[in-house]
Subunit: 328 residues, 2 copies
């Protein structure tokens, strides 16, 4: 608990699970102690290959993640798993269920599993997940799976973190074409038709292939469409091969470098957004003054835009002495 | 185009569709011209009742929104509809399809329909949607429906904007219980089992009721569970009644006021985050300098955390003269 940042970093380099857990918790809580640690870890990052696995609720993501992790473990590769959960009082049971289904992995020291909550981050989930990936990367987990529940903006952000993004579809989810509304079609590098033992799997695969043939993409790579039955493990080896093919493709075309560059751009701006806000709010806004502003706005005696201009002005003035520069 | 903010505001008060459209576009693009307009509109806001409608892709949200809007139109109430779309090159067709399905509404001057994209907002979607609601509110749309595609963080944010949140479920989407992972169960005020002509509708309704009976909620209101067939209009009148019941309940218990207070708190912090970032990035970071920082990070010659500290320091120093305060 009283480790110095460098002692803490050494434990993480030695893959100490408790040190890793403490670090991710610190990152999740936006705890200031994380920053000197992350600075120390940084030089040892950049080696992990990060795969995002996404799809609608009920698509079988957790089961597939477990089976895929086992595939990589058989190659002797350390696997980090980050499950991004919308933290719901209702979902507690279901998520616990997932983690129990991953029991084949929990006794394996070469696997690290971590859930990250989406609530309470006020938009900082992407930044926290990035930092968690860096921690696992520095700890020697050179294959990291990020599982996201749901369909939406979160997935787009996760795709920005990932070197490869896998989208799970399942037959029989009603009007299949509706899936293509989800805004994640164009960010997926591999498509998986899971629960392929159900009726409609073949048509769904064809539909996806037809859509991909016609669509403009950000790279020349034409995504593979792989069919799996995650519960039995069928097709999981093919998925691993598909991921490795994409990895090789990406390394040959400098794709990984290009994506990482985009990622760092987005990450730098996100970090800036996050830290500026923390600094402004932590230092200069207490609950009482927020409440007073809210009351004035609700009574329409002030408008929120003027309040914000005033608050930013206050922040800038209050930050002045910190610059430590004397005036002549 | 060369309207002054007050001329522009007058047009919006007169429910001029083109002026409304220009205003929402300005808000969506984070255009600075929106701020003086929003300040002027603000005093006339606070009258609209805002209903969020959410659910997984394929649940039938667009159809239900259309039918519900028609119900309210029959009462002579102006209806604003905001569809939050993940903007995908793939989804273009499907979304166009929705809008075409809403054709019964497009010739009605008492209805305003607008899609808002989720891409490119760097987390500012909630703020932009809030501002769009304010614009419609000021324009006299006193019933506003917000339709969100997908399941996840976006929905939680939309619920923060809404006076009432409706969650659509459909039978036969695979393992129904998985829906409860979605993190939106606890934010819904009304549940709709849509496509109720399909097998499994009754069991799904029972499942939801059983879950609700056991669950802790943030208010004493026990959400209604309503069954609909949106395509035929069956149950839509009951949904309107359910919404009105909840509205009455909320007004009696001061619930609307309490929620609005929470909303304004969240909105004020979100606006602060957004504006601080804009100010920092717009004034002090060009693409070239971002690229240089990214290169240094990728070569591991610098770490991102130190870069951010430096950038915030620069922002604060550069903002100094704006405070306009002389030193003795």
């Amino acid at each position: 608990m009283t480790d110095s940042p460098s002692e803490w970093a050494e434990k993480i380099f030695a893959t100490d699970h408790r040190a890793i857990t403490r670090a991710i918790t610190a990152v999740e809580n936006n705890d200031a102690v994380a920053v000197p640690l992350l600075k120390r870890l940084f030089a040892r990052t950049g080696r992990a290959f990060v795969v995002g696995i996404t799809g609608a609720p009920g698509a079988g993501k957790s089961t597939l993640v477990e089976k895929l992790a086992l595939e990589y473990r058989q190659q002797g590769i350390r696997v980090g798993i980050i499950a991004v959960d919308p933290s719901s009082p209702f979902s507690g049971g279901a998520i616990l269920g997932d983690r129990i289904r991953m029991q084949s992995l929990v006794t394996d020291e070469g696997v690290y599993i971590r859930s990250m909550a989406t609530r309470g981050h006020l938009g900082g989930l992407a930044a926290a997940t990035q930092d968690a990936v860096s921690i696992l990367d520095a700890a020697g987990y050179h294959f990291v799976l990020i599982e996201t529940v749901g369909v939406g903006q979160d997935e787009v952000e996760v795709a920005r973190l990932a070197d490869a993004t896998v989208l799970l579809l399942v037959p029989g989810m009603g009007d299949e074409i509706q899936v293509f509304k989800a805004g994640v079609m164009e960010i997926a590098d591999l498509f998986v038709v899971n629960k392929a033992d159900r009726p409609g799997a073949e048509q769904l695969g064809q539909q996806v292939r037809a859509l991909l043939a016609g669509a403009a993409r950000r790279e020349e790579w034409v995504p593979s469409v792989i069919t799996t039955v995650a519960t039995t493990g069928e097709g999981v080896a093919a998925l691993r091969e598909g991921i490795e093919q994409f990895r090789t493709y990406g390394e040959q075309r400098n794709l990984k470098h290009r994506r990482r560059k985009e990622q760092w751009r987005a990450r730098l701006l996100e970090l800036l957004r996050q830290r500026l806000f923390q600094k402004a709010v932590a230092g200069h806004l207490d609950d009482g003054s927020i409440d007073r502003h809210v009351e004035a706005i609700m009574q329409r005696s002030r408008d929120p835009y003027s309040v914000i201009e005033e608050l930013i002005g206050e922040f800038v003035r209050a930050s002045r002495p910190q610059a430590g520069e004397g005036r002549p």
